[in-house]
Symmetry: C2
Amino acid sequence: MSAAKNGVWPRTGLLLKIVSNGRRQISALHVAGDFLDLHSFLLKTMDHGVLALTTCRIAAVPHATLEKITNEYPHLTRMLWLNTLIDGAIHREWLTAMGRLSATAHMAHLICELYLRLKAVGRAEGETVQLPITQAELGDTLGLSTVHVNRVLQELRKEGLIRFQGDALTILDWERLTKVGEFTSTYLSLQNEDR
Amino acid sequence: MSAAKNGVWPRTGLLLKIVSNGRRQISALHVAGDFLDLHSFLLKTMDHGVLALTTCRIAAVPHATLEKITNEYPHLTRMLWLNTLIDGAIHREWLTAMGRLSATAHMAHLICELYLRLKAVGRAEGETVQLPITQAELGDTLGLSTVHVNRVLQELRKEGLIRFQGDALTILDWERLTKVGEFTSTYLSLQNEDR
DNA sequence: CGGCTCTTTGACCCGACTCAACGCTCGTGG
DNA sequence: CCACGAGCGTTGAGTCGGGTCAAAGAGCCG
C-alpha cells in the first residue's frame, strides 16, 4: 500500500509495534509494503510505539491526503478501510492463538503467518524467508520468556519442521507445521468482494 | 450505532464472538448499542461465530446500505470506519493483557473495561452493572480454565475490589482494581478529532 | 583482544490446568 | 408438592507447562 520513496529497501522489511506496561508486548509485525498505523488517521490516541527491526524505507501519507481520499474516492476509501480490517482479523487470530494454543503451537502458528505474508510480497526464496528478529522479540510477540522461545524453536527444529539459523527461516514441512500450529490461512486473504 | 427496531431490549445487552479450534476463544464482547461485525462488510471471510448471552434486540444494516453510505457520505463513512478501529484498539489491549498480565490482573482488566463500556451506554446503576456471563465464558474470554476463573474472582472479592453475585457486578474499589489490572481507559475513548 | 548482543543450557519454582467431587438453584414433570 | 436433572459455582489434590535465575557459548564489531 505504501510505496517507498527514498532510502534503501529494508533487508527484510519488518516492523513492530510495542506497548510497554512494565514488560512489553508486541502487538503487530509488519512486512514490506504494509500500511502502518493507518488507524491513527481516525483514532486520536496512539496506544503503542513503533520500532523498526531493520533499516527501512518509509513513505508517509499525510492525514490531509487521507481526508481528501475519503472525501472524494469511496472505492479507495474502502480499500484503506479493508486494510485496517485485515489487521483486525490478524489480531483476532493472535488472540485465540494466545489464549488457546501451547507455546509450541503458537510459535508454529506465527511462523506460518509470517512465512505466508512475506511470500505474498515476494520476500520468499523457495521455502526460505529472511526473518531478522531476535528470540527475545519473538517472546515479546508470543507472550513467552526468551528462554522458552529458545526451547520451543529447538523442538520445532528437532521435529524437522523448520530450520532457523541467523535470520534465515526455512520451512521444512509445511504440512505438519500448519497442523502443529492449527493454522489456516483464510484470515490473511486480501481478496475482497470488489467493494 | 445500531438502533433497535423491534423486540425487547436485552436484559443487559451483551454479545460475544467465538472462534472454535477445539477449545473456544471469545474474541470480543459487545454491549448494547455496539455495531456488530461491521467488518464483515469488507472482509469476505467470516472468521468467527456470534452468540447472544441474553435476549437481544437486533437491527440489521444491509451491505447495500453501507455501500451507499460509503459512496455518498464520507463523514459517516469515517465514523463507521472509526467504529471498527476502536474494536481493533480493544483487541490490541486484550492481546497485551493476555500476553503479559497474570490471570488476576487480566480479570481485573476485563472487569474495568466492561464496567466502563456498560456505563458509557447507561447500563450502570451507581457502581453496579448487570453482567450475565458465566465463569466458563469468562474463562473462554481470558484464556483461563473455569476453575481458575473461580479462584481469581474469589481473590478479587477477598481483596474487597469487587462484588459479583448472580449477574450483578459491583465495583468496590475502582482505584485499586485499575491498579491490579494495570488498566487505563484511553483505548476505549470514542472521541475523535471530528474527521 | 575485549566487549556487546544473542543463543543455549541447567536447576528450580510457581501459576494455572486437570480431574473429580460436592453443593446450590432453578425449572420441569410426575 | 416433591423429585429429579441440568447448569453453574466451589473446593481439594495432584500435575505440568512455562517462568526465573544464573552462567556459559558464539558471533560480531571496534
